[in-house]
Amino acid sequence: MPDWKKIVREELGSLPLSNGRKDEVVEELAQQLESAYEEAVAQGINEQEALRRSLEQFKDWEKLRGELFHSVEGTRLPVWEQKGLFSPRRWPVWAALGLALLFLAAPAFRQALAILPVPGSDPTASGPRIFSDRALRRLELSGDKQRYARALAFVALHSPKEDDLRAVNAAEKAIALDPQLTWIAAKVSHATYLYPGYDPHPWVERLKAWDPENAYPYILEADANIHSAWESRWAKYNAATPDLRQALAAEPGWREPMEKAFAAPRIDAYNTQTFALDRQVLQEQGLDRPDILIVNTWAQPIPDLTAMKMYAQILLRDVGASAEKAGHPEDALAAYRSVAQFGERLQVASASVVFMQDILANRLQQEACEKMLPVLRRQGRTQEASVVEGTLAGLVQADPAKKSWPSFSGEASRKRSARIVLFSGAFVMLLALVTAAWVIFLIALKWKPDLSRALNRLASALCVAPPLLLLACAVLFLGYYPYALPIAQYTSAQDLRQSFGPFIMNAYWSLDLQFSDVWLVRMFWPSVWGAVLALAAAVLLWLLARRQRPDDTRPA
């Protein structure tokens, strides 16, 4: 005769019933098995078959164990006593958690987590985010002058508008520490820095002295000279009318620096230097963040295209046309050549990175060639005319405005990847929080198993969080992997824009502009806070209801 109590005890395992109730339950179930066995044997069934039939009455012992506990105690089994697939007593849930944590060892996964857009944050204001005043002070005290100078330059280049003063002060210090960084003066020379007492002129003069062959400081100077005086006047003019050109041409403070800009041998907005500095600073800070790098290139100030276009039109339509009418074709050609050459320099400076700058560079050259052609033909300079004609044909063919828009949105796979990364990233964040809460609950319940029935129920339900976290981590990793590249491996801003740009653009666009601008920025955290309060209120009401009616299984 089998030892029925032993069988039941072994099958049930741990059953933490109070006041010796477990022994009673074991005895009662053992009697059920024994009686069924005896009855089968009495019917002439052999012992082995009788034993099988008897045991068949309780097929799922784990389920029975849970139901017995629930029936006797009126609550779920303590989470540490459960034996389900993902219960904390079994290895799968810890293996899932371990594997999820193991993803953090993969640089691609860390990068995927880091690039996820955070609601409410300004992606262009990386300066103060990376370098707080305290962080800068630490760098200063470290004694590494070069690194400190680069950090200050980074702050000067990438601070939000409200931090203009901090940016200007940082630029001052950075250049004092390393004069090779004087190019950052181009950023703080903008007349749009409007804090009290700010004057861009000393910065422009410094830049001109440091880089005299560059057209950029002169364009900044032209803007600085008229910025405050013209603020109220811009609205009076339509940009297309000759009145505006004439009014601007009559301003020596604007016309003269623009003349110098068009005569300067090169134009450089320091894109290459900015990219190199940003990348080095990010690497020094241990931030493998292509998103910051690319957003910084997007936020990079470019020379004032309107001013350049305006001055080119003055040369083409006013100076050149007047010279032609006055019978001075050489003067007219000089004006037209000046525009064409400036267009060439602008195109070189753009390096196909700044799309609008590319368009303007091409258009200026086209218009200048179109103006030059009839003058040259009238003068019988056919050879020169045919060269200009060839140049014009090439410019028309290469017109960036006629090319398709850079394929940010057209590639379905990148759009899909961006969405997968966004959604799985959000799930990873959420499930990581839930898993952390679950671990805390488990620790609390291990310390005191009868701490709270609600907590036990919650911890039991949240056992699925680690496997789900592992799944979300795997999806995030696989979704982002094709775009994961250490920032050190991008050769230039152009390379970064072509390789990483379409993906990150789709990631931002997937958030939907209105949604991210209005809802996410203003309502995300209030909504989270509201949900937490609602949850707390619901739990409180439920606890109160439980206290008033301890046994809620009573029939209505």
Partner: protein, 112 residues
Amino acid sequence: MAPTPDTELKKGNAELLILALLEDKARHGYEIGKLIAERSEGVLRFHIASLYPLLYRLERRGWLKGEWEPAGGRRRRFYRLTHTGRKILGEQRTRWRAFSGAVDRIVEVRHA
């Protein structure tokens, strides 16, 4: 998730069956399981694995009282109705009669 009406009916039926079997005399679990199968002539099948949790639940609610008593040379846990259990049985029986009567009146009508 709210239980389906079908599940509620089965759960209610099981409770009613057990309360009814204990109306006249105290019985132990094995006997209750056998009686359900015998008296329903095999129509009602009651999973033994569900019987004991149900007995304990009814006991916790105060509808039954279980006590160890000697029987056939061993001790067995006998269950008997409490005052509350008897009251509940009356209510459930009334509801069941109303329900089964209503079903009968619909099912047994022959249309001319």
